[in-house]
C-alpha cells in the first residue's frame, strides 16, 4: 500500500465516526453559537444580528444567575455524597454475606427506574403531612414540613432524591474495581497488622482512584444534565429556588419561544462543561494511580 493509499484508508476508517460527530455534536455547537448572536426570528419580525446583546442580558438576568448558583450547589451536594455512599455500599456488598445478590439488586434498583417515575414516587414522599417522609418524622413527634414548597428546603430535597437515584449506579463501578484488587494485598496488610481503616485509606482508596475519576466526571456531568425530575417535582419553583440551567434553557426555548437566548445559555453551559472536563483530565493525569 502506498502512503497515499494508506492515507485514504485511514480517512475512510475514520469517516463513520467523524460524520456522526460532526452532524450531531460539532455542527449543532456551531449552529448554537450562531443563533445566540441573532434575535429570535418570527414571520412577523425576522431575525437580525444583535452581537453580544444576549450575553450582556445574562449578567442582568437574576433567574439565570440563580439557576447557575443552584446548579453549583446541586453539583456539590450530589457528587460528593453519592460517591462516598457508592464506595460504602460497594465495600458492603463486596463482603461475603448471605443474601449478597439481593442486597446488590436492592442498591441498584433506583438506577433502573426512569427518572420521571422516580420523581413521581418522591413527589408523594415529599407531600406535606400525608407523605412518607412526614409520616415517619411524625413518629418522632416532628410536625410536617413543606419540603418542596419552602425555598430553603426544596434544593436539598432534590439533592437527596438525586443521591438516592445515582449512588447505586456508581456502586457498580466501584464493585467491579474492588473485585479487581488482588486479595494478596489484604493478606499482606493483615500480616503487617494494618487496621481496616488504614488498609482502606492507604491501599484500597488509592487503587480506586481511576474509578473515582471516571465516576467523578460522570457525576458532575450528570448534575448538569439531570432535569427530568424538575418537570414533575417543582418546575423550578418556588420562585426559581430549584431552577437549574438546563431547565431554564428548556423554559426559555419552548415556553418563552426565545430560541436565541436559549442558545446563549446553552453556550455558557457548554463552555462550563468543556472547562470542567479539561480541568479534570489535566488534574487527574498527575494524581491518579494507575497500576
Amino acid at each position: 500500500m502506498t502512503p497515499r493509499m494508506a492515507n485514504v484508508y485511514g480517512w475512510l476508517l475514520l469517516m463513520p465516526a467523524a460524520i456522526l460527530l460532526i452532524a450531531f455534536t460539532h455542527w449543532p455547537t456551531v449552529a448554537t453559537l450562531i443563533s445566540s448572536v441573532y434575535s429570535p426570528g418570527t414571520p412577523v419580525r425576522p431575525a437580525r444580528f444583535i452581537g453580544l446583546d444576549n450575553y450582556r442580558l445574562l449578567v442582568d438576568d437574576p433567574v439565570f444567575i440563580q439557576a447557575a448558583l443552584n446548579n453549583l450547589w446541586f453539583a456539590i451536594g450530589t457528587v460528593v455524597p453519592s460517591i462516598a455512599l457508592a464506595i460504602l455500599m460497594a465495600i458492603w456488598v463486596n463482603e461475603n454475606i448471605p443474601g449478597r445478590g439481593l442486597l446488590r439488586l436492592a442498591y441498584f434498583t433506583p438506577t433502573i427506574l426512569p427518572m420521571v417515575a422516580a420523581a413521581n414516587i418522591w413527589l408523594f414522599f415529599y407531600t406535606p403531612d400525608i407523605g412518607l417522609i412526614d409520616q415517619v418524622l411524625a413518629l418522632f413527634g416532628s410536625s410536617g414540613r413543606n419540603w418542596l414548597g419552602d425555598p430553603d428546603l426544596v434544593l436539598p430535597s432534590l439533592i437527596v432524591m438525586t443521591i438516592w437515584k445515582e449512588a447505586g449506579f456508581f456502586m457498580i463501578f466501584y464493585l467491579a474495581a474492588l473485585q479487581s484488587i488482588p486479595p494478596e494485598l489484604r493478606e499482606a496488610a493483615m500480616l503487617e497488622g494494618a487496621s481496616r481503616w488504614s488498609f482502606f485509606w492507604k491501599v484500597t482508596f488509592p487503587l480506586l482512584m481511576p474509578t473515582t475519576l471516571f465516576v467523578l466526571v460522570n457525576a458532575l456531568l450528570n448534575s448538569f444534565k439531570l432535569v427530568d425530575h424538575l418537570f414533575i417535582l417543582t418546575k423550578g419553583g418556588p420562585n426559581n429556588a430549584s431552577n437549574l440551567l438546563l431547565y431554564y434553557i428548556y423554559e426559555t426555548a419552548f415556553s418563552f419561544f426565545d430560541t436565541s437566548y436559549a442558545a446563549t445559555i446553552t453556550m455558557v453551559l457548554l463552555v462550563l462543561l468543556a472547562l470542567l472536563a479539561l480541568a479534570k483530565f489535566w488534574l487527574f493525569e498527575k494524581r491518579v494511580h494507575y497500576q
Binding site: 413527589l123 425555598p151 419553583g237
Partner: protein, 429 residues
C-alpha cells in the same frame, strides 16, 4: 341539425361536468389535527370516537387526530410541523397561546373563513366568557372545545363535624375565612383550605383578583395590571391564609398532589380545575360538594383549557373541511357528550339544552356549578410573550407566598418587567 348538435354538445358538457363532480367527490380531503390532554383519564379514546363518528358522516374527509402530550407539547409539535413543511391543518391548543400563534403568523381568524349567515350565527353561539381568550384584534381566532373553570370542592362530612351547614358553602371571603378557621385542626394536621400554588399559580390568582374586582390584563394582550392595589390586596389575602391565619399550609402548595390531600381529608376545601370532577367523584370516600368560588367584590374565576385553531398554511378545501370538523365537534349533542364523559364545560347554551346534559345535571348537580359560574368568568392570563409574562407573575406569587418578598414588592417588580417585555407591542411603543 343545429338543435341536435347543440343538444349533443350539452349532453357532452353535462357528461364532462358529471365526471368532474364525481372525481371531486371521490377525492378526499386529508386533515391532520394535534390535540393535547391535560388531565388524566381515557380522553384519547373519546376524541378518537368523536373523530370516527365524523368520518362516518363525512366520507370525503379523512382526519388524522394525533395526541400530542400536554398543552406545551402540543404547541411545540404543531409549530414544528409547520416549519418542517408537513403542517397540520387544525389543532386543539391552549387558549392562551393565541398571541404567540398570531406572532408566529401561524393561524387564521375564523371571521375570514365563515361565509354564510348561518356560520356567523354559529360563531356567536358560544358562552361569551369562553370566547374572551379566543378573541383579539377584533377577530375570533380560537373556538372553545375543552374548557374548564376553577371550582371549590369541599368535604361535607368535615363541614358537619365542625358544625357548619354542608349545603351552604362559604360565598364570600369573610365566610371563607371563618369556615376555614372552624375547619382547621392543627393537632390532626388538618387544614381548612388549600389553593394550589405550583404549576399554574397565575390561574388561581386570576380567580382571587377577579373576585376583588380587577382583571390581570387588557384585551389586546399588551398591558398587565399586576401592581394595581386590588391585585396586591388579593395576594396579601392569599399569603395571610397561610402565614397569619394558619388555615392553609405555609409555602407553596403542590398542584399535583392536592387532590390526594383532599381525598385523604387533610384539607376541608380545595380550589381546583373542574377537570378533576370525575376523578374526585370516583375516589372520594366521603360526602363532597362542589361550589362556586366565593366573592369579595363579586364572584370570579378565569376560564382555562384548549381551543380549536385553524392554521394559515391551508388550502380553501382544507379550511372548509376543518370548519366542518370543528362544527361537528362543537355541535350541541357532541359538546354535551364530551362534557359528560370528561367533566369539561359544555361550550354553548344549546349543549346544556340537550336532553343528555339536562338529565346528567339532574343526576349529578356538581356538573352544573361550572356552567353557572361562567357568568362570572373572565379570560385566563394571556399576553404577547405570554410564557415570560406568566412566569413573572408565577415567580412573584411564589416569592410572596414563601415570604421571600412582600406582595407589593413582588408584584411591583413583576409589573415593571412585564412592562419592559410588552412595550414593543403597544402602539407607538
Amino acid at each position: 341539425m343545429k338543435p341536435f348538435r347543440s343538444l349533443k354538445m350539452a349532453a357532452m358538457a353535462a357528461a364532462v361536468g358529471l365526471a368532474g363532480m364525481t372525481a371531486a367527490a371521490a377525492e378526499t380531503t386529508k386533515l391532520t389535527m394535534y390535540y393535547p390532554v391535560a388531565v388524566g383519564g381515557p380522553l384519547t379514546k373519546i376524541v378518537d370516537g368523536l373523530v370516527a363518528d365524523f368520518e362516518a358522516e363525512n366520507p370525503d374527509i379523512d382526519v388524522e387526530a394525533i395526541y400530542a402530550g400536554n398543552y406545551n407539547d402540543a404547541r411545540i409539535k404543531a409549530l414544528a410541523a409547520l416549519q418542517s413543511g408537513e403542517p397540520a391543518q387544525l389543532s386543539v391548543m391552549f387558549s392562551i397561546d393565541i398571541y404567540d400563534l398570531i406572532e408566529q403568523d401561524a393561524i387564521v381568524a375564523f371571521d375570514d373563513i365563515v361565509e354564510t349567515d348561518e356560520e356567523r350565527a354559529w360563531l356567536a353561539s358560544f358562552y361569551p366568557a369562553l370566547m374572551e381568550n379566543g378573541q383579539t384584534l377584533g377577530k375570533t381566532w380560537g373556538i372553545p372545545f375543552q374548557r374548564s373553570t376553577i371550582v371549590m370542592y369541599y368535604n361535607k362530612d368535615m363541614f358537619r363535624a365542625a358544625g357548619l351547614d354542608p349545603d351552604n358553602p362559604p360565598a364570600t371571603w369573610d365566610e371563607l375565612l371563618t369556615a376555614s378557621k372552624a375547619l382547621t385542626d392543627a393537632d390532626k394536621g388538618q387544614y381548612g383550605l388549600m389553593i394550589p400554588s405550583t404549576g399554574y399559580p397565575y390561574w388561581m390568582f386570576g380567580a382571587l383578583t377577579m373576585q376583588n374586582g380587577q382583571v390581570l390584563m387588557n384585551g389586546d394582550g399588551n398591558e398587565t395590571y399586576f401592581d394595581k392595589p386590588a391585585v396586591v390586596e388579593a395576594l396579601t389575602f392569599w399569603h395571610a391564609l397561610g402565614a397569619e391565619h394558619k388555615v392553609m399550609p405555609e409555602g407553596t402548595i403542590e398542584w399535583g398532589t392536592l387532590r390526594q390531600n383532599f381525598l385523604e381529608g387533610k384539607t376541608a376545601m380545595m380550589w381546583h380545575s373542574t377537570g378533576n370532577l370525575t376523578a374526585v367523584k370516583k375516589n372520594a370516600s366521603f360526602d363532597f360538594g362542589v361550589a362556586m368560588l366565593p366573592a369579595r367584590e363579586q364572584r370570579g374565576t378565569p376560564t382555562g383549557g384548549g381551543n380549536f385553531y385553524i392554521f394559515k398554511q391551508t388550502s380553501e378545501e382544507e379550511r372548509r373541511a376543518a370548519m366542518k370538523l370543528i362544527r361537528f365537534m362543537t355541535s350541541p349533542e357532541r359538546a354535551a357528550q364530551w362534557s359528560i364523559e370528561t367533566g369539561y364545560i359544555g361550550i354553548s347554551q344549546a349543549s346544556y339544552d340537550t336532553q343528555a346534559l339536562k338529565d346528567y345535571v339532574v343526576e349529578f348537580p356538581p356538573a352544573k356549578v361550572a356552567r353557572d359560574q361562567l357568568e362570572f368568568a373572565t379570560a385566563e392570563l394571556s399576553t404577547y410573550q405570554t410564557g415570560r409574562v406568566r412566569k413573572l407573575l408565577d415567580d412573584a406569587i411564589q416569592a410572596a407566598l414563601t415570604g421571600q418578598k412582600t406582595p407589593e414588592e413582588a408584584l411591583g417588580e413583576a409589573q415593571s418587567q412585564a412592562d419592559r417585555l410588552l412595550k414593543p407591542y403597544r402602539q407607538g411603543g
